[in-house]
Amino acid sequence: MSQKTNVFQKAGSFLFDNKVMIAFATICVAAIVLSGSPMSFIVDGVFNRITRNTFTVLALIIPVLAGLGLNFGIVIGAVAAQIAVFWVVYWGFGGFGGMLLSVLIATPLAVLFGFLVGKLFNRMKGAEMIAGLILGYFADGLYQLFFLVIIGGIIPVDNPKLIISSGVGVKNTIDLTGNLKYAIDSVRMVDIITILFYAVLAITVVKVILHLLKKYQLKKGELIFFGVVAILFGISYIPVVERFLSTDRLGLLDALTAVLIVLGVIQLVKIVKSLFFEKEKPKYLLKPILAILVYGLIYGLTYIPQIEEVLLFVKLPVLPFLLIAGLCWFNHKLLSTRLGQNMRTVGQSQSVAMASGIDVDRTRVIAMIISTVLASWGQLIFLQNIGTFSTYGAHTQIAQFAIAALLVGGASVQKATNKQAIIGVILFHTLFIVAPQAGKQLFDNAQIGEYFRVFVSYGVIALSLAMHAWKQFKKEDQPPTMGPNQENSSLPSGTAEQQVGK
């Protein structure tokens, strides 16, 4: 009996957990079909937005882990980035160097802000989300005060391109063309490999020296990793490869091929390993072989003209995607560190964490600092990609959209993963791209589509906050007063915003 219910519960909870995502995917597909836009346009737009926004969405994961909920306070990280960008542009720096300088300025600012926010949140435990939301607005006010009055009014700044003609306050938009635009996007692959090689070389040399001094135990894997990087670096000198790598954009087709090859090689290594080193039974080979077949099939699909056309059309900037991948890796790796484990414990139960000797408040502050810093970097990636810095608007919606995207991917107030973040960004921004066109086709009014997507982004947050709170409340309120309301245990079905939110 209990077994049976378990299976049902599992299936039910799978649907329950993923229902937001499933519903959203359905809306997306419907909107794509309705809009009638060419696939190449949609895919290109989606990848563009993945480049811009994924980093920020990934910055939300750590606070969720640490039990701080959805971090509406990432606005403050974005503000730190924007302050840095303003000064870098004002001082006339540009290119990758200018971007590095922005990072150098933004990071300490974000650390400071994150620290303060963390301290504040520790005073408002249990109300972090509403506090973060209000704090975002509050920070926006201070930011406006700084950019409208203090710059030019108190700090003398003289630059007719940036400052309003009266001499006080920064203009509405700052053009980043010629300085920071594409500062990260346009880093060539050769340069990335070269930098990577020298970085790994330096680290390995240090490690080898330490090893020889018997202060560090060098592992075999580290040498293999160095070898792989060195080989890659060597390959990059072959003229054909060099010509290929000396561009800054990677065609989606090439990227897909490369990813499939890498995945295939990994599976091959697995097969070889289990065959020759571990002598496993052949049935363990089934999985890797199947995987290779699937990769082959996917590659085969790219020869379908329609798909090929799309894949050839879309070009990806390389470095942002590597940074996104790096952040995914960081989020993943953090979990296996002590700090990550502490965060998880704090997120599950503060009293348990306290009892096991974890400094709860400190852990929460660290989570906020990391999230704020990551958000500031995310905003830098966003600004350099978009190319115009809307001084008073660039940060206002960031928390809203990032959180909506994360939730669309199936995350909740208490659980969020890299995968959910990425799926969420894809779905949410697909809708963003196609909604106006779909609205135009459906209602003969593109504006309706635009309002619809805003509504969806609010609605999805409202829905998932309500569901979370409801679950929480049910858990707490099990034994005492259930009252007559418990009879109809579905959400009040009449609330219009909920209905249409799906």
């Binding site: 005073r123 408002m124 109300a127 006010g141 005060l145 409208l148 609010y458 709170a469 309301n485």
Partner: protein, 371 residues
Amino acid sequence: MKTLKNIYDNIGLPRLIIGLFFIFLVVASIVLGFSPAAIFSDVVRRWLMYGTLVLAMVPGIQSGIGLNFGVSLGISAGLLGSVLAMEISFVRNWNEVLGAAAPWLTLLLALTFGTIMAAVLGTLYGLLLNRVKGSEMTVSTYVGFSVIAFMNIVWLSLAFKNGELSWPLQGQGLRNTASLSGSFGGVLSNPDVVQSTQPAWLHWLAFKIGDFTLPLGLILVFTLLCIFVWLFFRSKLGIAMSGAGENQLFTTSSGINVDKKRIQGTAISTVLGAVGIILYAQTYGFLQLYNAPLMMGFASVASILIGGASVRRAKISHVLIGTLLFQGILVTALPVVNEVIEIGTLPEVLRIIISNGIILYALSKTKGGNQ
């Protein structure tokens, strides 16, 4: 000394700072040569304009749902009621048929529609809030946002005949800002409107004493609403509701259905929100649709907190003091700031900082007000 400390504790630091700031601004504006009468007319006008919206916070807080950021629900109902009433009045050509009575009938109709819709929506909203106890504020904020976003779609889809409401030359969609000059705009508060459209025996509704405008009609309505809420919380029902908000367990044990009281409180709050926005539009002279009411809930919350309310307790006096201080600062800041430094948006920035700062302060005082 002790009494001095008592007084200080009663006022509280934020109110003290904001109060002093307000006095400073008033003094500064008079020193700078602005007519005190004009400034005070403006302060009174804005005070009454926002008063009912802030009053809507009281039943919410008292019944235990906390700061009702979701008052946008009531606001939307009120706006929808006004829009419908205006369309009916236009189609029926009330201005021709009824003359001076037309604005009153339109206003009454708007209030009726708004109240009915708000009562229904508020009840449903109360049902939702009962299921999310402990996180009402977060949920209600986003429910409020969602409602405004949803109403954006509604405003855009409505096809009305009234030219004051709909865009010219388009079959569909309402204006961002619709003028109420052909309808109930200013009939309670604007002397020019009252003198020109109403019969002589109604001229007392709004008149000028020198430079000072006295919107007696609006004062009367707002006072009645305040008295109504005040009396309500002295009735059996109101006391039970306050009890529900104050101590759930005790109230339950004395046989009161807490959930029901919370729903009633939410519904009344929503209805007051609807009435509030209609009175707001009446005073302002324009109906603001689309995203204009998005942050009005925040302004109302901030006002009552400035007045000294907490996340759990609110009184009529908090409404009056808070709205006066908050709106007073915003009204007086503009001319003063413009005189000193020419940045028109500074009062807006000030509004953002003060309103959100005070909400943050209140949240940090009460640990978020969560049980």
